[in-house]
């Protein structure tokens, strides 16, 4: 900006501040910047911190924060791809040398990371754009959008980037246009001859994540505002613990197959919404079952009480092989490429609705419903109808016509299982292909002899990816065998689900702000829901955390798996047992795929403002610096899709550490800190700018684990913060040490790094902790009085407790930061 730029004066209390230099280029957004400062900055703050806002940011605008993260947690790449084929000079094998353009193997990995995040972003931008365009066509661009009566500050992932949550569909379009504009910029940076710094490439991958959370939040908002999805911010605080009620029927056994069944799959709920509307208009609700696979299923139970949520998308093969859908309606994202091929095996009729999944068909949107139905009745199996209203109507009419022409069961008989099992040559090609190491020749041999026990277990554990079937040289239909080996499990897969509730409300944040200093942690479990080994892993984690008084939020397709657990004594699910608040010892479900934006970054941004008046409008770096100092952890369980990759990047950018499960081993990079490198663990004193050494926490920002046990043990460890009340640290020590002892048989070897004083030790463990500090770490302890006499600093010095607390970590209540810019100082540019 030129020197002749006019001053833009914001008035905060009695202080006037020139904010013309608060943004990279203020021209055209003077009012926005002024309003942002006047409404969210305190007078105290504008006097002490240089105001810096990043409205409608490019990645580089938030680079100060990204650099901090990437320097403390340098990317660890998996180097599984070593050959670049991006340009005409390639392919270039980068192992041991540079590519023709100068590309190194490390930079190549960073480019792949950015490309992955961009793909994830693109997919959801498309979903959001499709929905918005439909809304504008249907309701007009002047239609006001509502936030819900208790969502006081609007949408935080949106506010954090563009200052304001839109109020009309036109403003939503403007907001989305910003997000869409970021994608080509980010993708271009990952192209040949562009960005060459690993830090900058990863910073852009983070940005793709932030923009994705932004777009997901817009999508969630449109769902509520235009289609009356369940939305907690429209309820009073007293209603939320039981909202929405956990009464939705879910699971494969929840469908009444004596009725015609329409199964919806994908990420676009519009055709399902239209089908339900048509059913309601024609009083067909009792005559037809509608069910959803994956995200659309999670959406359907938010607007239609009778909808059935079946299963996550990758396990869709179960639904197809069972022949469950008389009519299957496919939309965009999370559909299998071979969905049509699979569905045709059981004579289902298929309607595909998305421009991105056309299966080589001509669009029938302009044809009459009768013409389309006529063709489908004559023998056409698949049609493309891009008009959701017409697709919904065709689905409802068609399903009533085809129901009686299909078989009542497509399961193999016991004899057929034995016959196929007898073909097994015990080559174990299935075992080698199975990502979860579940099936093997010896299991089939047992089946041939009539013992289906092991096969029955696979029914639950398998993600039904079908790799075993493809690998089998004898073409044994293994997925059909797994299903048929345990038909009872299909009937018993019937449970009550709490539908998604949308955003966390401002009232809940006010509530949790009080308990924040004693609460061990807030955990958000997100992901796509198919993972190797078992269908119970997510429920096991949610149960453990909520019983340990953590605040637990679930979202994405994994939310359904939480509902699969029932307490043996009460027969109640976790959702039926725990209140649906954002509070300790509560469990709430935000919703399907796009709701992954609502459970972690958004509430903590809001907490930053409500509890500490930390400005949030266009202040991502400032808020992330705040969130980083608090105890939030995200667990991403399920496949490492590009959307998951970008969602995770967005949460890391918000300052929240992420644990990824076994399928996350396909991520291209992790962000791991090194607890042994003391130079990495510091914070700045907010008043002096002095750098002080801290505990190594959160030790990692993105770490893969192999098992549920590891995830459970890591959550309290990553939740340690350098500033917390004694009671909070007592809780975390209790969780951390118990988790290790219970799951690995011993305490971890690094707990002493988090000890500052004996009052932070849980009473039941204090004596042992003090003894071990004395015997193994060289501390001086008065065991009789249970006191630390001298603590051993990591540099080897023995310090009296008062000095130690002063020199290691920071006291609760002190203002600390990671960014030089945010250190308090008297500003010189006050007017």
């Amino acid at each position: 900006m030129g020197d002749d730029q006019k001053k833009v004066i914001a008035k905060v209390g009695n202080t006037e501040v020139d904010v013309s230099n608060a943004v990279r280029d203020i021209r055209g957004i003077e009012d926005l910047v002024k309003e942002s400062v006047e409404t969210t900055w305190s007078e105290n703050l504008v006097n002490q911190i240089k105001i810096s806002l990043t409205p409608y940011p490019h990645a580089s605008d938030i680079a100060e924060w990204d650099r901090f993260l990437l320097e403390r947690y340098p990317p660890l790449y998996t180097f599984t791809e070593k050959e670049c084929r991006d340009c005409f000079q390639g392919p270039c094998n980068l192992e041991g040398g540079k590519g023709a353009c100068g590309l190194t193997l490390e930079i190549f990995q960073a480019k792949l990371s950015l490309q992955s995040a961009c793909k994830g972003l693109a997919m959801h931008l498309f979903t959001c754009r499709e929905l918005l365009d439909y809304c504008i066509r249907e309701f007009g661009e002047d239609r006001e959008v509502k936030w819900g009566k208790t969502l006081v500050y609007g949408l935080m992932n949106v506010n954090i980037l563009i200052s304001e949550s839109p109020k009309t569909l036109r403003e939503v379009r403007e907001a989305l246009t910003y997000a869409e504009g970021q994608l080509p910029e980010l993708l271009t940076a990952a192209n040949v001859g562009r960005e060459s710094s690993i830090i900058d490439l990863e910073s852009k991958a983070f940005h793709a994540g932030s923009v994705l959370l932004f777009a997901m939040e817009l999508t969630e908002w449109l769902k509520f505002s235009m289609f009356d999805f369940t939305w907690a911010p429209d309820k009073e605080l007293t209603e939320i613990p039981a909202y929405p009620p956990p009464t939705s029927e879910a699971g494969l056994g929840s469908v009444d197959r004596s009725k015609p069944v329409i199964v919806f799959m994908g990420n676009d709920f519009l055709s399902a919404w239209m089908a339900v509307k048509y059913m309601k208009d024609n009083s067909l609700e009792d005559k037809i079952e509608v069910a959803g696979i994956g995200s659309v299923g999670h959406d359907m139970i938010r607007f239609y009480d009778n909808a059935r949520l079946l299963i996550s998308p990758t396990r869709a093969n179960k639904v197809f092989r069972l022949g469950m859908g008389d009519v299957i309606v496919l939309s965009d994202t999370c559909c299998k490429i071979d969905a049509v091929e699979e569905a045709l095996k059981t004579d289902s009729k298929i309607i595909t609705t998305s421009f991105t999944q056309t299966y080589g068909l001509e669009d029938r949107a302009l044809d009459s419903v009768d013409d389309i139905l006529s063709d489908l009745e004559k023998g056409t199996h698949v049609v493309l109808i891009s008009d959701p209203k017409k697709a919904g109507e065709v689905a409802v009419k068609l399903v009533q016509k085809v129901k009686d022409k299909r078989k009542s069961s497509y399961l193999l008989s016991t004899d057929e299982i034995k016959k196929y099992a007898a073909k097994c040559t015990d080559c174990d090609a299935c075992f080698k292909a199975c990502p979860a190491s579940l099936i093997s020749g010896r299991i089939l041999k047992s089946a041939m002899e009539g013992d289906f026990t092991k096969l029955a277990e696979i029914h639950d554990k398998s993600s039904y990816c079908g790799k075993c079937e493809q690998a089998c040289p004898e073409n044994i239909p293994l997925m059909d065998i797994f299903l048929a080996a345990n038909p009872q499990a299909i009937e018993e897969d019937n449970f009550k689900m709490r539908p998604g509730r949308g955003a966390i409300t401002s009232n809940e944040i006010r509530d949790i702000a009080i308990t924040m200093f004693s609460m061990p942690s807030a955990v958000s479990i997100i992901g796509c829901g198919n993972y190797p080994g078992a269908g119970s892993q997510v429920a096991e984690m949610a149960k453990e955390f909520v019983e340990c008084n953590l605040s637990v939020v679930v979202s994405g397709c994994i939310a359904q798996d939480v509902a699969r657990y029932k307490y043996p004594k009460t027969g109640k699910t976790l959702f039926e047992t725990y209140p649906a608040l954002y509070n300790p010892r509560c469990l709430t479900n935000c919703g399907g795929c796009s709701a992954q934006a609502l459970g972690a970054s958004a509430p903590f941004y809001k907490l930053g403002y409500i509890a500490f008046r930390n400005p949030y409008k266009s202040a991502l770096a400032q808020q992330a610096d705040f969130v980083y100092r608090f105890a939030a952890v995200v667990i991403m369980w399920g496949p490492a899709t590009d959307i998951a990759y970008a969602v995770v990047a967005g949460h890391i950018r918000a300052g929240i550490p992420v644990i990824v499960g076994p399928y996350g081993s396909k991520f291209k990079r992790y962000l791991l800190g090194n607890k042994y490198d003391r130079s990495k663990w510091w914070m700045l004193h907010g008043n002096t700018g002095d750098k002080g050494e801290t505990e190594p926490t959160p030790e990692h920002m993105l770490i893969p684990v192999e098992t549920v046990d590891e995830a459970i043990a890591l959550v309290p460890k990553l939740s340690f913060t350098t500033q917390e009340m004694d009671v909070s640290r007592q809780n975390k020590f209790d969780l951390y040490l118990n988790a290790y002892k219970k799951r690995f048989g011993e305490w971890p070897d690094d707990w002493h790094l988090f000890v500052k004083k004996e009052t932070e030790m849980p009473m039941t463990k204090k004596a042992k902790m003090l003894r071990l500090l004395e015997e193994e770490q060289g501390w001086e302890i008065d065991r009789k009085r249970g006191k630390i006499l001298k603590a051993k600093h990591r540099d080897g010095r023995l310090l009296v407790p008062g000095d130690y607390v002063y020199e290691y970590g920071f006291k609760s209540g002190q203002y600390i930061t990671t960014l030089d810019r945010l250190v308090y100082q008297v500003r010189k540019d006050r007017v």
Binding site: T78, K432, E746, D749
Partner: protein, 156 residues
């Protein structure tokens, strides 16, 4: 490089700075009537090699006084290997050969791929191209035979 059992045993014996890494499948799989973790323990005892127990395997090793074992996250292990200064107390010196057993293929592929400085050996029954040394693709029976042969060769 695909190794025969005798070559595997020879390499393990030759490399003084070695580390066994036992993954979560060790607890779950029986190979040739023997728990996979027992093979890890056998190798550790025969060669006096410490074990990094990842996943939940430590629970089954904690009471075994004949071996040196420590619970670690697999990601932590590979993370410590990328810095010059080795400070992880499981071994006094930076390990030069990491022998993996008991991992889902995707996980061990990820782990060995991150290691740029040091040799890796995977003894699971799926060939791992990303490792410096790997056992070949094998059926369960072949795998049991392979591991038994490795043990026999280590005894020599």
């Amino acid at each position: 490089m695909i190794l025969a059992p005798d070559e595997t045993a020879k390499l393990i014996k030759e490399e003084k700075r070695r580390l066994l890494v036992a993954g979560s499948i060790c607890n779950d799989l029986e190979v040739g009537g023997k728990n996979l973790l027992d093979y890890v323990v056998d190798i550790a005892k025969l060669t006096d090699t410490p074990i990094v127990a990842t996943g939940s395997t430590m629970f089954h090793l904690k009471d075994n006084k004949e071996i040196k074992a420590k619970k670690m996250m697999a990601a932590d292990l590979v993370n410590f290997l990328r810095v010059e200064k080795w400070e992880e107390p499981i071994t006094p010196e930076r390990p030069e050969l990491l022998v993996f057993l008991g991992y889902y293929p995707d996980i061990v592929k990820m782990l060995v791929s991150t290691i740029r400085d040091g040799k890796t050996m995977v003894l699971d029954n799926r060939y791992m191209n990303e490792a410096t040394y790997s056992a070949p693709d094998m059926s369960f029976n072949e795998w049991a035979e392979y591991l038994d042969n490795v043990i026999d060769n280590l005894k020599k």
